[in-house]
Amino acid sequence: MAELTAGPARRRPLVVRYPSVLIFLTCLGLFTLGATILSEGFGIGVISTSFVKTLGKTLCLCLVALGMDLVWGYCGILSLGHMAFFGLGGYAIGMWLMYERTRLIVVDSLAAGGLPATPEEISSGIAAQIFGVVGASEFPPVWAVAHSLPLQLAAVVLAPGLLALVFGWLAFRSRVTGVYLSILTQAMTLALSLYLFQNDSGLRGNNGLSGLQNLPGLENTSQAIVSIWFLWGSALALGLGYVLAAWMVSGKFGSVLRGIRDDEARVRFLGYPVEAFKLFVFTVSAVLAGIAGAIYYPQAGIINPAELAPIASIYLAVWVAIGGRGRLYGAVIGAAFVSLLSSWFTGGQAPDLNILEYRIQWVDWWTVLLGLSFVAVTLFAPKGIGGLFDLLAARRNPNRHGQDLGPDHGSLREKEADA
């Protein structure tokens, strides 16, 4: 028995501790390469530019799902407001895109008038262009740094991060947990969305920000090329996000997170400040969501407050649940699978189904199907799609943890013991 005893696990490199990292990065690289080769911009033009954008957006959704898995799958915080952070990231980058593009147009049109334009004229010209639609012609205070790309990029990280920090601090220190916390996060995203719907919120009310697909200064570059750049950017962000998340969950930090998920009080009595851990992981995941949003919306071209509606965050939770929470690749698979399937069903491509007299049109019925599959996954396959990989792993030789193979050597049917 003793000679079969395997040594306990020692500290090993990340890829060994978390083997899915290498597999995932390879798949992601191959996917990006394949999409590039098939694209119109850089390849043989088999897939359309709009589909390239769909793929790029899907990668961003995978990134936010990764963040969701960190807080929900690993730390047990069911946040139903994560798309608020995603939207904030989108608004932050959208402000610069819209400002800068409008500025170029305004400068051009003023230059046509002959006299060189003063900065005031340019500024009021931009403001009139952007805010005319909500009946204003002044820049609201939130646009103070919209002229500066670095500052707006900082806002992509800071706005969601600070919101998560303040919200999390208030919620976690009062030990709000479980369903009450979920309701609070719903309220947060709903409140933010309702606020942004107002015309005087300073972000163009329900019109939102538009024309984001046009990058300032790159008017002559076709969308076919730009879409591939964004695909690469999305893939890079997702890859880095995956490595970061894997690094966080694979060591002792991950142990503590899963401990908090399984038995919060016990972790507290081990001396860990549970609230600080929750706040940390909540904020990190909000920042990931913000970055994902900032890459998503230039590909979508438009952002409006409806994107922050509570239902969006609920979908996010559904993706992660179907993909398999508590494992990073599960979240990614769920987000990719369900959101692509969703665009197929709602894009009118799915053939209608005739049942007796009734005609099932998937555009309407897709949500019902999604809801049913969510219920089914929750009841019958709590591990989600990711659980299928466990079946694969079980096909390999089981890890006997150094135990012998049976009561005594006489019970062995094969020469396994010698192996």
Binding site: T5, A6, P8, A9, R10, R11, M248, G251, K252, F253, S255, V256, R258, G259, D262, D263, A265, R266, R268, F269, L270, G271, Y272, P273, V274, A276, F277, F280, V281, N399, H401, G402
Partner: protein
């Protein structure tokens, strides 16, 4: 001898029910103490007060030298100050390996950043191996703790407590559901632990307490009924009444 923990005049009531009634208790730096008492005597509430889970209505809880009050401190602060607690039901992290459980419990910086940047060194693994030997779980270090038997889980939890290197161990019914052989081993682990630190064992089982061979505090209706060695205590008329019924 100066005392490590000094609880005096503590009262706790839940909706009018007095769980603790003017309870006073103290324990030295390297001492084994058993706390016994019938159901509802306030044993668990007493532990809750010391570990910061429950705030008493009145009284004081002083800790260490020079004495500082533990009242108003969070559970995690009290734990890092050196109070370790084992629950009645074995609570280990079943989804994680025995080794991960022990590494998590090792006495290290507890803030999120330092945990994130933590890299276990050879000395940490050596310490884990050493602890695993003490609790007899050496061969199953890489097993998920959910696969352990009930007794092994209890030991793992005691091992996690030892890994925290607490000055005071509060152990709630460590022998519940154990076989006789497991009980003997548990007794040995606790007595060894008490050589260098204070250990408070809450227990129902008189035989187990007898085997611990230490001073006994009998609780009844939220306050101390008697204190002393087991033979002395079991001859106390009041104790007999409480335990055997009037």
């Amino acid at each position: 001898m100066s005392q490590l923990l000094e609880v005096s005049g503590v009262s706790v009531s839940f909706d009018g029910f007095k769980a603790l009634n003017n309870l006073s208790f103290s324990i030295g730096k390297a001492e084994l103490r058993a706390v016994i008492g019938p159901n509802g005597a306030g044993k668990t509430t007493f532990m809750d007060v010391v570990t910061g889970k429950t705030r008493p209505d009145e009284g004081s809880v002083l800790w260490g030298e020079p004495p500082v009050s533990l009242l108003g401190k969070s559970e995690s602060k009290i734990a890092t100050a050196g109070v370790g607690r084992k629950f009645q039901r074995p609570t280990v992290f079943e989804d994680q390996s025995v080794q991960d459980n022990l590494i998590m419990a090792l006495k290290k910086a507890r803030s999120p950043l330092s945990v994130l940047l933590f890299k276990p060194e050879a000395s940490d693994f050596a310490r884990v191996d050493e602890l695993a030997d003490v609790i007899g779980l050496g061969p199953v270090l890489s097993m998920k703790s959910g696969e352990l038997s009930h007794g092994q889980k209890q030991w793992l939890e005691i091992g996690m407590l030892l890994a925290q290197e607490p000055k005071l161990l509060l152990v709630d019914e460590p022998a519940a559901g154990m076989t006789l052989a497991e009980r003997k081993k548990t007794t040995q682990i606790l007595r060894d632990a008490a050589k260098s630190r204070a250990v408070v064992v809450v227990e129902h089982d008189m035989d187990f307490v007898r085997r611990l061979d230490c001073r006994v505090t009998v609780l009844h209706e939220g306050s101390v009924l008697a204190e002393g060695y087991i033979d002395h205590v079991t001859q106390n008329q009041q104790v007999i009444e409480v335990y055997l019924g009037r």
